[in-house]
Symmetry: C2
Subunit: 663 residues, 2 copies
């Protein structure tokens, strides 16, 4: 029996528990350009000598950058530093532990010279440490002069010991050695991968619509609908941009299957004029590489994308890998589907329910062939200007498929962003993020209580932030929660305001401006759902909807306040009321702190009057400081302190979004 | 910018978060032969098909053993199994995730045949799954016959569908496929190292003495002492063995330095007859490879070891890598010490205090030379029968030194056990365990409150149990807590009983039987400490000490009850009293459960009368069951249930150790 030897020895100065480590360092931790990225480690040594810790960042070009770490918990030997990547690309970081001769001497010399013990010896040893610091570490002449002066002072036997000691411990010497320390026994922890992505991977306001509904017209005489087109949908874009959104997300734009097509309200029978669900993809006209003829041509799509870009909107494409029975792949590549014992192609099921309008892909019969085809489809849409993919139900396709696809796309187009619609169990949701998805819808739609919001955000902004980024949606075309069905305007405002401030990315499904709150009986989704029929929202005659100004204001606030562009900076504060949620986000931009405090009444039915209690240092203030609280929603100003009395909606605004201005 | 690819792809069926993983799988998890070793993992797949998980154990000879895992939390896709290594050696374990065609069919068939949907198709598909299970997995003719019968039954169109379905889902088929499943897309998680060690690495009762004290005699006429010898110390061994101890631990046995030797009670001045501290090692007679002439020769040591073995005691050797100024290494190898700026050798310090009787080793000047010498010393003592090393202050020597030494020793002598006396911060204590130490004293001596004991044991028996094993000592020659100084007999009983039942390994320092409770003023250690002088405890005239029968009973109980040989099996129960601690340990041995419940009053000054509330399933019982509670300390019997009224000391016994006998 031989005790197994570690493949990674402990080393001279142990560096353990470096965080973040995603999947034990097998996959990259993530941040966006300029975003705070905290690195922590446990660094210690035997005996009593001083240690130091440095984080070394290696940029995409291979250049290294060292930053000193700070001991944040002496009893646990815990070190930390917050860094940032200044450009996109594949970085790495490692923590180096080292023995600190100057720190050891400093500690001992202060005590011993103070006690009159070994005075000359301690002063001479200090001079020798500084001589080594001069000889072994590169410095400019000016930097070296600081140490030379100190050495001379330490050896100046004409002056008293405390003065000589002071020469070795001056602020100038300490600063010089903090910047360029004398490091002994430097020991490197693991080299860990770090992916720095563009800002939109973390921050953005999304707007979802069904292009066929935008500009669809109903002829009362015939009862027939005429589909909207890319051209008519583009006419809605200026309003979306004017509301301050950054991304326009289109539900699928492909030909829709006719076999077993669903009718209105998910009925099994469809009439000849029912347009079918855009998620039932593929018909005689083509499949995932084809545009629905009603919407237009590739030229029309290109024009739509160009118009969106002109307005500052990125286009997000819905990648829904579902096939209708008449999808060209079904006949062309039956091996991409499952054939049952009776020779039929397997349709989707949730036994005993059957979804006969959808054939699920089988990724195991011909993985290479199917992969190549989907890779081709994705490349096609990227070539037509798509920079964001919203993926429908990624959790029903193999993870190894996504891992490969996202890595291959990133190799050619690192700017592409993937949002996972994985409303499923936590391991799948988290693993999709780890293998490459930039964003996940997460469980926001179903988190309503104060404690559950605090706990969930603490998880998302804590360990999970190393690899997963939330995109909070109060509703989608599939989700209309009972809370919003019944909560009234205060609920619709509050859920949008929370989404927009808790999470750097959030999204709105068209109709949110109208507070469309009527569900299909027995379902938690819209009645007369656009998935199965056209919807003309008559924007013009409804002035864009009663909530449009509120959403516009939210997006203005988001753009003006960089603190809201981040996730890891969220901090919760206390309120005496069980339904009043209080949180803040702070961020230093150049020399100025941007600090936002949000106070929300989570109950849309009753006003809340309560004291709130702010952890002032989280706002960059001292406990006894006051500040001007400027409510960015109403424009009101108050003088606030640690303890403040607030009233929040529904009679007044349900949410304060406070900009903190110190006196 | 290229997204970094994972060195370990996610695979077809993801297997993530396998535990235990010590240092990300870089170092082995540990157990002893036969000890429960829990393996957990998160295993899931896309879509709705069933998955399975298997743990595969690879033994020291390379043979593999597969065990099915059980889904313990469906919402979190969590799987678990408890395994055991049946012999010592370097094992490994991996978790395999797989798609389960039989499970998928089972789930769908029950629903669809029940609902009359696709009946013939489902039955035929079941037959085909079983045909694959027959063709693809090796089975005996009998095992195969079970599946053949089922296939025939599934296709027997003469009978009704539910009967045919029942043939495919019979208990015999399920059992056969649980044992030898049809596994698709088998995906292996990481291969993780696992060290299975001998029982004594986890379980044992230790007794510490200073050999020179055992048989030391004082001449009242001259006032002079005569040292005990290995021969006289061996005369104490039968009593130690009779008390039921397993290990006899000797403080250092080497020549003691004369330069700056400490006198009684740690005084800086010593008289010519003061024996000095055995921890101030090395003099003209020799160093760590030498025996103090007062104790005897190597032959005498060998005889002592032989006598101990005869009595069933293993000898633990105190490896204290301290050197007195007159240690032969100081002149022979000045490079193994630190030379200061004034040319002197550095003594130990805790500024401004100086410990001029000790020169600390410097491991950095000549690491290879010093390593070779210490390796030689350790081998010497192993060659003389030492199988256990208790290491003094390992946290003042480099971790990489210990990692190398312990691995090298294990390669030749895997039976050797190392106990770290690392009373220091948690990262050092835990890392010493990770790099090879079998045991640590831990913080037991200073854990007195109910909550802190529960929390600390939950940590030790939980994640930390994968690599660290506690050895609980209520006192040592360096530790006499205020609690034991003042607590009286109930405190001494209770702290021993808790050490002996909370931890599989525990130890007693000689004199515990006598409840020696007088401290040196201002210190938390014995007055007239044996470290600096002889102590004749006059065992014979004191009948071995008033606590000897209690310690004997504790060790009898430990030996009779295998549940107490383990750590991971500890479970805490409720009591209504803030000072009454209740815990249990259960273990199945062959077909019998050994179950112990301990009820302790943590306050030695006041009796505690209280209700206790037992989590009955942890005792292998149903909530409504009763049992006979046999107090192994007093021999009393009671009828106990979930809720019981108890009284615990100091007026009666302070601790119940209950053996659970179901009716």
């Amino acid at each position: 029996m031989v005790q197994p030897r570690a493949t990674r020895p402990i080393g001279r100065i142990p560096v353990v528990d470096v965080a973040p480590q995603v999947d034990n360092g097998n996959r990259p931790a993530k941040s966006v350009v300029g975003e705070e990225f905290p690195v922590t480690a446990t660094v210690f040594r035997e005996g009593h000598d001083a240690v130091g810790a440095t984080v070394v960042l290696t940029g995409p070009d291979g250049g290294e950058l060292a930053r000193p770490m700070v001991k944040v918990n002496a009893g646990l030997d815990a070190w930390a530093v917050t860094v940032a990547g200044d450009r996109t690309g594949t970085w790495s970081y490692r923590v180096e532990g080292w023995s600190d001769p100057y720190g050891t001497w400093n500690h001992d010399a202060v005590i011993k010279v103070g006690a009159g013990v070994d005075v000359e010896l301690m002063l001479e040893e200090g001079a020798r440490v500084l001589e080594r610091a001069l000889a072994e570490v590169e410095r400019t002449p000016e930097q070296g002069a600081v140490l030379r002066t100190a050495i001379k002072g330490l050896r100046d036997s004409a002056t008293d010991p405390q003065t000589r000691l002071g020469a070795g411990l001056s602020a100038a010497v300490r600063t010089e050695l903090a910047e360029r320390p004398l490091r002994e026994h430097v020991t490197a922890g693991p080299e860990l991968p770090w992916l720095v992505e563009r800002d939109r991977a973390l921050y953005g306001a999304w707007y979802e619509f069904f292009p066929r509904s935008e500009g669809a017209t109903h002829d009362p005489a015939t009862g027939k609908w005429t589909s909207g087109t890319f051209a008519t949908a583009a006419e809605r874009l200026p309003a979306v941009a004017a509301m301050g959104f950054d991304v326009i997300y289109l539900t699928p734009i492909h030909p829709i299957g006719r076999i077993n097509r669903k009718g209105p309200n998910n009925s099994l029978e469809s009439g000849p004029d029912d347009p079918g669900s855009p998620y039932g993809i593929g018909a005689a006209e083509g499949g995932h590489d084809t545009i629905h003829p009603d919407l237009g041509t590739f030229d029309d799509f290109d024009a739509f994308v160009a118009r969106a870009r002109e307005l500052g909107l990125e286009v997000a494409f819905d990648l829904a890998l579902n096939c209708a029975p008449d999808h060209p792949w079904v006949t062309g590549h039956p091996e991409w589907f499952t054939t049952r014992a009776d020779g039929t192609v397997a349709y989707a099921e949730n036994p005993p329910k059957k979804y006969q309008d959808i054939y699920p892909l089988n990724f195991d019969n011909d993985p290479e062939g199917l992969y190549a085809e989907i890779r081709r489809v994705v490349r096609l849409w990227i070539d037509h200007g798509v920079t964001i993919f919203r993926v429908d139900n990624p959790h029903t396709k193999p993870l190894e498929f996504w891992e490969r696809l996202l890595a291959d796309v990133a190799a050619e187009h690192p700017e592409v962003i993937w949002l996972a619609e994985a409303f499923t169990r936590p391991p799948m949701m988290h693993t999709l993020a780890k293998i490459g998805y930039q964003q996940s819808y997460t469980y926001y739609a179903w988190r309503h209580g104060k404690t559950e919001i605090q706990e969930y955000l603490t998880e998302l902004a804590g360990p999970a932030a190393a690899y997963m980024r939330p995109n909070f949606w109060p509703t989608t075309h599939d989700i209309l929660t009972p809370f919003l069905q019944r909560g009234g305007p205060a609920a619709w405002k509050m859920r949008a305001a929370l989404a927009a401030t808790l999470s750097p990315s959030y999204g709105i499904y068209a109709g949110y401006e109208l507070m469309e709150n009527v569900p299909r009986p027995g379902a938690e989704e819209q009645i007369d759902n656009e998935k199965y029929q056209y919807r003309d929202r008559r924007w013009a005659e409804r002035s864009g909807g009663p909530l449009a100004p509120y959403l516009t204001r939210l997006n203005e606030i988001r753009r003006a306040h960089p603190a809201l562009h981040w996730l890891r900076n969220i901090r919760f504060h206390f309120s005496d009321h069980e339904n009043v949620l209080v949180f803040s986000k702070a961020r230093r931009v150049y020399d100025r702190d941007d600090v936002i405090v949000v106070v929300a009444n989570l109950d849309p039915s009753v006003n809340a009057d309560t004291w709130i209690h702010l952890t002032m240092p989280e706002l960059g203030l001292d406990w006894h400081d006051g500040f001007v609280a400027h409510d960015l929603i109403t424009g009101q100003h108050w003088n606030w302190w640690e303890h403040n009395y607030v009233r929040v909606g529904p009679d007044t605004e349900p949410v304060h979004i406070i900009h903190v201005t110190p006196y």
